[in-house]
Symmetry: C2
Subunit: 408 residues, 2 copies
Amino acid sequence: MKIGVITIGSELLNGSRLDTNAYWIAKNIIAYNGEIICKKSILDIEDDIFSALDDFLKTSADMILITGGLGPTHDDITANSLYKYFDDEPIFDSSYWEKLKKRYTSKGFDVRNLNKSQALVPSKGEVIQNKLGTARGLCFNNGNTKIIALPGVPSEMKSMMNESVFPMIQQSSNISINYKILRTTGISESKLFKNLEELINKFSDVNIAFLPSILGVDLRISSKNKLSFDTLLKDIFSVIDFYIYSDKNESLEEVVSKILIDKKITLSTAESCTGGHIGDRFTNVSGISSVYMGGVIAYSNTLKINLLNVDEKILNEHGAVSEQTAINMAIGVQKKFSTDIGISSTGIAGPGGGTDKKPVGLVYIGIAHNGIYKAYKFNFNHDRISNKMITAQVALNILRNTLIKLDK
Amino acid sequence: MKIGVITIGSELLNGSRLDTNAYWIAKNIIAYNGEIICKKSILDIEDDIFSALDDFLKTSADMILITGGLGPTHDDITANSLYKYFDDEPIFDSSYWEKLKKRYTSKGFDVRNLNKSQALVPSKGEVIQNKLGTARGLCFNNGNTKIIALPGVPSEMKSMMNESVFPMIQQSSNISINYKILRTTGISESKLFKNLEELINKFSDVNIAFLPSILGVDLRISSKNKLSFDTLLKDIFSVIDFYIYSDKNESLEEVVSKILIDKKITLSTAESCTGGHIGDRFTNVSGISSVYMGGVIAYSNTLKINLLNVDEKILNEHGAVSEQTAINMAIGVQKKFSTDIGISSTGIAGPGGGTDKKPVGLVYIGIAHNGIYKAYKFNFNHDRISNKMITAQVALNILRNTLIKLDK
C-alpha cells in the first residue's frame, strides 16, 4: 500500500522539533507492507492543509496519513479543515461529550473553557479511538484513497497506529509480510554488502535494506514469500553470524546483559578514554545490578596506579595508552571488585593528545576473566564523542564474543 | 524571507534516516530572518521532483531549498531534473573536470567509471562552491523565487549553507536580525512562561520561542529592533538569571568544565544510579583531563563501603538511597581521589526497586568541597534512562551553582 504522510504544526518547521512521527511511521509501516511515497510538513493554516490534500490526492497514494492539530486549542484546525474539505456536516456526539466533561472536571479543569469540537464525529467518515488521550482520530474515504488524521502527540499517535491503522493497512493489502531486523556491529556496510551480494541477487523476491549508523549496520529484511524469506535468513546467518548480535531489535547492552544475568557472571569496568560511557550503557538495562558491580573511571595515571594497581613501571615504559596498561586495568578492576570479568578501555579520544606514534583514535580494550587476559588494539578516526561511542560499542562486542565462547 | 524546503532521497521515506537536514536548516535560518513555510520529502523520481517544484512555486516562498541527489551515482537525478525543469542546456566545465579527475585518481578511483555530470554548470543559473566535496550546488531564478539545490551529505550541506546560502538570505532580506539562544535548566516551561509573561507582552516586537527538552528549556529570542532586543535580554536575565547556564549555545558540561579549568578546581565523581553517565558527560569535553580525575561507579553496597568508605552502619540505618549515603559517597570519593570537589548520585532509576517510602525516581545528589558537604533530594517521575539523564543534568547544575558561589 502506498502512503503519503502530512505532518501539521509550526513546531515542525521552526526548528523546535525533529519530525520523529513521520520517521516512526516510515520505520514501522514496512512490516505491514506499507510504503511511504512522499511526506509534507505544513503550518496550521487551512489553505495549506487544502493544498497539501489537493497535492497528495493527485499522487498514487492509497492512504493519506495526517498527524497533528487535533487538540482542543485554537491552533488545532485539522478536524475543521477536513470537515470543510470533504464537505462533511459533523454530528455532535453527546455521550462522548459527557465523558470528556467528566475527565476534565476530575483534573480540575474548567469545562466552560472546553472546545466542543473534540466531541464531533464526521457524518461521512468514521472516528478512530484514542486510548491515551481525548482527541480521537478521523477517517474519510475519497474514491479509493483513505484519509486518516491522528493527534501529533507521539504516544497517542503510536498507540492509534498500532491499534487501528496498521491492522487496516494489513487487512487491505491482504498479504502478510515476513519481516525481521538483524543488528550487526564490527563490519562496515560495504564489507557486509560484499559478503551478502550473492545471496541478495539469488533471492530477488526478498527486500534487504542496509541501515548504517556509527555503531553498526542494521539489516531490514522483508518479503511476501515465506519460503524465500526463511531460506535467505538462514543463509545470511551462515555467512555473517559472527557479526549479528540481535534479531529481536535489542541494543547490544541488552544482549550482553541478558547473557551475564542468565549465566550469573559478574562484571566490573575500568574506563579511561570512555570516561564512564560503558558503565552508563550497562546501567541503562533494567535488572543489571545483579551482575554489574560497578567500575572505576580512571582518567588520571595516579588513579590507574592507586585504584587499579597498574604498576607504575608499566605506565612509564609503555604509556597509559598501551596493551599492557589495558590488560592491567582489566585485571586490576576484576580483582578489586571481585568480579568474574573485568573490562577496560584506554585510548586517545582527541582532538588533542595525539602523537605520531600514538595518534588520536588509538584505543586498547582489555579483558580479564578466570586468569586469562587479552588486549585488543584499534585505530578509530572520528571526533572525540564518536571515538568514545565506538570504543564502548567494540568493548561490549568483545565481551559478547568472550561470553559466547565461555558457553561452549 | 519565506522558504520552502524539499529533501530528496528514499532513505528519508523508508525509515532509514531521520530528516535532520531540514531540522538543522529550520533551526539556523531564523538568525538570518528566514522562515520555513513548508517542507516536503520525496523519492528520487523526476516526476515527483517536477510536481514538488510546481507545488512550491505556487506558494509564497521566496526561496526553494533542495537537498539531496546531487552525487555521482545513477540515483542522483536532482541536477538533471532541474536542468530539464528550467529548460537549461548545461555547459561542460572542463577545468573542474580536470580537478575532479585528479581528486578521484589520487583516491585510487577508476575515472572511466566517473559520471561527467558533476562537472556541468547551468547556462541560466549559477553554481555554489562546495569546499568539502565534489558535488557543487546549483542556483536558479524563477521570477522572484530563488531555487537552490545542495548535496544531502550533512557536513557539505551545512558548510555550503554557512558559506553561501545564509549570506544570500541575509543580503536579500536587508535587515539584520538580533538573535540569541538562552539555555535554561531546573525550571519547567510553564513556570518559565509565567515568569516571563509580562515581559513577553511588553516587548511585542521581539519573538521568543520556548524549546523544551527533557534536560531543560531553550529560549530562542529574535528581533529586528536592536533596542527592544537588548532591553528585553537584560530584563530576562534580571528575572531568571539563576536558571540560565549559557547564552552561547553551550552544553551544561562545557559550561561547568570551563569554570573548573579556569579556576583549576579538581573534581571526582561517585555514581550509583547514574552508572557512569556524569563521568561520560564530563569526558565529552575536550581538555577536561586537567581537572576531572575520574570516579567510581559504585553500583553495589560492598563497593560503596570498600571503595568510598561509606560506613556500613549508615547503609544499614538509612539505606543506599538516602541523604547520608549521598553525602558520604561524595566525601569518600573526594578524599580517595584527592580532589577539591566530590559529587555523588544515588537513587532508584526504576522500573524495579521502588517501595512506598522510596519510590522509583527518588534521587539524592551529594556534594563535598573544603570540608563542607550537602545533599539534595529529588523525585523524578520518568522511565529509567530519562531518570538517569535528568539526575546527571541536575548534578551538573548543582555543581555549577556551587562553583559560582565559590566565586564570590
